[in-house]
Each structure stands twice: as structure tokens, then as C-alpha cells.
Subunit: 320 residues, 2 copies
């Protein structure tokens, strides 16, 4: 089943006032750490380092009532920030949520958003520990993720890839872009293609893969936010290496192929250019850690290639 749309009725933010809206949101995302000037987190293990990342989502750019729900927006906002924490090999420990919305917005929108944030955070044994709500003219959501990096191994940085390493991936490639394309085409999405839509609304990732990869000896890592080729190019440039992808390891699966046929689109564009899968992408000596698959190798020659050729990618996220 595909669910989209924002609540359009019910008491508005202006009608309820800031204090009641915050009460509703805190009830939807309960945490004993929330409610003071700042949240004091429970102590991490000794020697663990703090990791932090933030992302801002704007209505009409990153999400829309035609393609998502406030609950999904909340879940995805957490997931994409937690993916950034995981991409350092760290463990998410808390989320913060700042949101601005038109005062005539039904309070239910923010309540659902907070519930989505809380539900996704709880999949990582985390809570929404603090936030801010304020008036604005369209919905803007900023989530900050805080993580803990234990032990003495270095974090999984963009510049850690070395020639000869294996390139590994955890998660789907192209599903989010295909799902968005299905929603935006206004077609009646066949039931078997619904997983693509779901993957756009809330990508499916297994918590803890970044920590597993780091423990298994991964060196570099990022996530597929802006597009496979684009994100791997960032990583390759930062590391001063090249990346050789194997087409057989990333080829569009039957769902992507079927969606491509339905929409008249080459599904490779979704795989290579589509972002927002938040798939973890890394490099490692030796075999792929549990939950990861091998999709290529690190080479000395600058650039990212598929079967030795530079792919023609037309898509990819650009903020402005």
C-alpha cells in the first residue's frame, strides 16, 4: 500500500500555541532527556569520541505531500543523518529536531513528524533528545544526529581508500530515485513495484552496519546521498584514487527494470545517478563484512568507472 499526503485539518499551530505544540511533539517522541535548555546525554564508553552531523529538509525540495507523509519525513530525516554517523563507523546515540512551519499548519503534521523521528531513532536505540519549533512559511526540518565512536581505530573517512581495496555496499541502489519517479509520474503503481516507493519514502537500512564495517577493517566510507557515481567520486577524489565498479554487481534488479519499462526510463540512471538511498559505500582490504556486498575495486587511476568506462550519468542531486 502506498501512503502519501499531509493532514490538512485539525487544530493549527497558531490555535494551540507553542507550548501545547511542544507538549504534543514530546508526547509523540517521549524522552526523559528532553525538556531542559539542552539535553545531557548518558555517558558513552570511556575514550569514545563524539560524532555529529546535520541535514536540512525543505518542503517542495526534499519532500512533498504528493510523495510522502510527515511521519515518513521524520523517519527519513533521522535515517539520513544516522547514515552519516554510520558512514564514519560510529553508532548513533541521539537525535535533535528543529522545525519551522506555517502557523496555519495542523499541529498533527508536527506530531506525526515527531513520531516518525522517534520511531526511526528507536530502531537505533536512540531518542529525540531536544529540539526547537518556530513559525515560518513552509515546512523546514533540520535533524542533527549525535553518535559515539568507540575504540582506537580511526573513523571511516572519505580519504581512507587505497588502491587494491574492495568497494562494498550495504543497501539498495537506485530504489529511491525509481520510487520518486513512480510517484511523480502519477501512474497507478503496480503492487510489486511498491517497494521502490517505500524505499523513496523511508530507505531500508539495517542499523549498525557502519560499526560492523569498521570492526571488520573497512577504511573509507560514505553513503549514497547524492548519487552513486557522485558520492563515490567525492570519496575517490578525497582519497586520491579511482574506483572500478562491476556492472554485474550493481545492475538494475527486476523491480528497477520493470519500473524503467513502465516509465520509459533507463533504470541505470537511477542506479548510477539517483541519490537518497543512503546505502553505505565503503572500501576494505579482504572480504566484504556481514551485510555488505562487493561492487568493485579501488584503482590508482582517478575517476569512477563501470566496467572500465566512465558512465554517462544525467541525474544527481544539486541543492541550488
Amino acid at each position: 500500500m502506498i501512503t502519501t499526503g499531509f493532514p490538512a485539518s485539525g487544530p493549527t499551530l497558531r490555535e494551540l500555541g507553542e507550548r501545547e505544540v511542544i507538549r504534543l511533539m514530546r508526547a509523540a517522541a517521549p524522552s526523559s532527556l528532553n525538556g531542559d535548555d539542552a539535553a545531557v546525554l548518558t555517558p558513552a564508553a570511556p575514550n569514545s569520541r563524539v560524532v555529529a552531523s546535520t541535514d536540512m529538509l525543505v518542503e517542495g525540495r526534499h519532500f512533498a505531500p504528493e510523495t510522502s507523509t510527515p511521519y515518513f519525513v521524520g523517519r527519513k530525516a533521522v535515517l539520513q543523518n544516522f547514515a552519516d554517523i554510520e558512514a564514519m563507523g560510529a553508532r548513533p546515540i541521539a537525535a535533535l529536531l528543529a522545525v519551522s512551519a506555517d502557523p496555519e499548519t495542523p499541529a498533527r503534521v508536527l506530531e506525526d513528524l515527531a513520531r516518525g523521528v522517534a520511531d526511526e531513532a528507536s530502531a537505533y536505540a536512540c531518542e529525540l533528545v531536544g529540539g526547537d519549533v518556530t513559525g515560518g512559511n513552509r515546512l523546514v526540518v533540520a535533524v542533527t544526529a549525535i553518535g559515539a565512536l568507540g575504540g582506537n581505530r580511526p573513523p571511516l573517512t572519505l580519504d581512507g581508500a587505497r588502491p587494491g581495496q574492495r568497494v562494498i555496499a550495504h543497501g539498495r541502489l537506485g530504489y529511491s530515485a525509481a520510487g520518486l519517479a513512480l510517484l511523480q509520474a502519477g501512474v497507478d503503481v503496480p503492487e510489486r513495484l511498491e517497494p521502490l516507493v517505500h524505499a523513496h519514502q523511508v530507505p531500508e537500512l539495517i542499523p549498525g552496519r557502519g560499526v560492523v564495517a569498521r570492526a571488520a577493517g573497512a577504511c573509507a566510507m560514505t553513503d549514497n546521498s547524492d548519487g552513486l557515481i557522485r558520492d563515490l567520486t567525492m570519496l575517490a577524489e578525497a582519497s586520491g584514487v579511482g574506483i572500478e565498479l562491476a556492472s554485474t554487481a550493481i545492475a538494475p534488479d527486476p523491480l528497477l527494470v520493470a519500473a524503467g519499462e513502465l516509465l520509459g526510463t533507463d533504470p541505470w540512471q537511477w542506479v548510477l545517478g539517483g541519490g537518497e538511498d543512503h546505502t553505505l559505500l565503503g572500501t576494505i582490504e579482504g572480504s566484504a563484512p556481514v551485510g555488505f556486498r562487493s561492487i568493485g575495486t579501488v584503482s590508482r587511476k582517478a575517476g569512477v568507472r563501470v566496467d572500465g568506462a566512465v558512465p554517462a550519468v544525467t541525474a544527481g542531486w544539486e541543492s541550488f
Copy 2:
């Protein structure tokens, strides 16, 4: 001198593109911790707990070209978040900045904003360690502050006030509201009243007062974000106490009185109702710590009173 206005010319965000805009912002706010999926902070002292807070500022609501500059907005966004960290008795250690802006915005606006963030953070020996920029239709700025709470004393929570304690304050009261009123009145601000305008644009606080207060035995603390009476009422309610303020200790100073005469406004409204001074307000047994002054006492009777009477406050921040 009073400075206001946003750069209105120069290359826009759309013209330069995301990557170049991020490069300019990072050059304006350099940090070796920035630039990966997430920032890994340098290890805090053993046993120190992580503290986090976030605030969102929206153009036209929290700031405007008529009353501020992007540089001041950046400084104030950090200051108000760091005040929240200090209000827990903790030490700020890092800031993150997420911002959305119309693609036709001159890039200089975000560059100046980042410079303001970096300058204010550096007053606390902190850096801008990460962020996000994205398109939108008006400028929205979300800053997250991360702090460290060392030692075994409890944090300075809202619920820590006890009858008999002294109420203490560090910073101005009413200056920010008076400064905003002067700017919005469109009057020619006399030079001697400029400190009020400056206090609105970037409140003046001495870094580290929260840590000092906690070390000196303070129990409860918050900051004057929404208005003196309003913020103290929150603290009093959370603690199940009342607060008795002494009018002599908070009376409008000559600058506030002069501004009140100029604008025909009762300056007590700025003192009691005006927010955004981010003055630290706390309670303590015994004498006021260095940098704080005594402004009243904690009582058993619910409510906040001045010289025993409930003040008539007409101002105070409301988000919606």
C-alpha cells in the same frame, strides 16, 4: 555605528553551485574537523557527558535585513545555542550549521553567515564542525551546539531551584528588546543608545559563566530567551517554587530609560517581557558567583513576582 542590511549583489548560490558555496563557507569558517559525512570531535575529558541543543532562526521572524546582517545572524545563532549549553553548566565544544536559502541569494550572504558562526564559536575556543546547505524560499538557519559536562555534579536543570536560594543573573536584561524597538521604529538612533542595538544584534556574554556557576554550586539555570518573567516562570514551575525579584536589582538602567523616553515605551516592558538577551539566570545557595549579580530569591509560593506583586507583562516571544 549601526550596521544592517544583507548583501544584495554578487554571484548567487545558483550561479556558483553547491560545491563552490560549501567551499566558500568552509573557507570562512575553517575547521579540520569539517568535510566528511560527520564530524568526529576531539575526545573530551573522561567521564564528561555530551550536551546538545538546537535552534532554528527564520528570516522575517527572528532576523531581517532591516535589523541585522548575515554576519550578526551567524554570531547570534551560535551565541543563543551556546547559552543553552552554558545554562546546563556545560562548556560548548562544537557548532553545526544547517541553512536553506533562495538559490538567487548572493553567496556572500552565506559566506558572511559562516564567518559570524566561526567568529562567535572561536570566542568559546570552538569551531564550526559540520553543516548542510540547501535551497529554499527564505533564509532559514539551524544551529546545533554540542557541549561537554565534566565532573560529577549534576547539570543545572530547570527543576533544581529550592526555596531560600538566591536568584542570579549574568548579562543584560531588556537590552535586546529595546534595541529591536529602536531599529523597528525607524528613528535616528542616538550614539549613546547604540549599545542597545548592538545587544539585539549580538548579545554580549562572557563565555564560561555557566561552568563557573556550576562549580560555585548553582543548582538551577536557564537563559533569557523568551523574556525574563516567562523564562523564570518556566524554571519556577519545573522546580515547584516561586521567585521573588527585587525591582532595584533589575530596574531599567539609564540607557533603557532614555530609549523608553525616545520611543514613548515603558522600559520595564523590555526588562520583564523582552527576550533574546540570553542572559544566564540561575539559583544558588549563598553568594553570587563571579560575573553574576543577585536579582532575587526563591520562595515557596508559586509564581514570579517583583517586589511581591505579579508584574503586568505584555511582551514575550511566541513562536506561532
